[in-house]
């Protein structure tokens, strides 16, 4: 079967759903963070596919910006996770409830 725009969109949907389920199901903050990266990358695939099939560079620019934001997010998020892990031994996000969230 020759891939077209909708096949890329369906791959992207599958990856996004996997990331969503991972965020909701897993309790390890590092794995939740990786699932967020998976969701970001599935959206990037959508942007690149639309950019190709609409033959416009706007989607590629968006992917470039998303990569920059994701790099910044990873830096801050991992610093937060490391500082949380330093102050407490438990790694279950269900137990991080000091702020009663």
């Amino acid at each position: 079967m020759t891939p077209d725009a909708s096949s890329y969109l369906i791959i992207s949907a599958i990856l996004f759903t996997l990331g969503t389920v991972g965020v909701l199901v897993r309790r390890d903050p590092l794995i939740i963070f990786m699932c967020i990266e998976l969701m970001l990358n599935s959206v990037n695939l959508t942007f690149v596919a639309f950019s190709h099939y609409l033959s416009s560079a706007d989607g590629l620019i968006f992917v470039f910006m998303i990569m920059t934001v994701a790099a910044a997010e990873v830096v801050v998020g991992l610093a937060l996770i490391v500082s949380i892990f330093r102050t407490r031994e438990d790694i279950d996000v269900d137990q991080l409830d000091e702020m009663h969230g």
């Binding site: 890329y8 389920v21 309790r27 920059t68 937060l80 269900d94």
Partner: protein, 177 residues
Amino acid sequence: MPVLAIIVFWISTVLAVLGGIGVVASPAPVYSAVSLILTLANLAILYLLLNAQFIAAAQVLIYAGAVMVLFLFVITLLGVRDYRLFGDRQPLQRYGAMLLGALLLAGIIYFVSKSGTGLTGVHSSYNAFQAHKGNVQAFGHELFNGFLLPFEITPFLLVVAMIGAVALGKSTQGSRG
């Protein structure tokens, strides 16, 4: 599309989805990270098939290189703990999440298949430029002409993130020592 490209498309699709499943279902964070690297590398191959060479290179360099090395570094820094695959406090949440995920996937696939796939080019100037000079040059031309201000603002974002990471690292050390 040549036959070889279709074969490459299906192989990298299957590997990317398997990697995604591995991210969600692996017991240890290290396996999740390696599965995520698999997914990201295969997404880079899909970007190459979509004629986005610069994005594919940036994907390998930034994501599969820098970001995942940072992840693996943090995982090894934090050390091995006891792995609970799913939390044992809310089993209802697990099945509810899987149900909602299946619902989300079905909804997206329904709307994707319902909408037409006849996407055609609307930016003929970019198309002509791409045909004339190649994809990477066309991307650079767009970036430095139409999107110069966002491109100039992104370094500020990176500097703010870097300052934030340094501040977080310093404050925890101060409170401990």
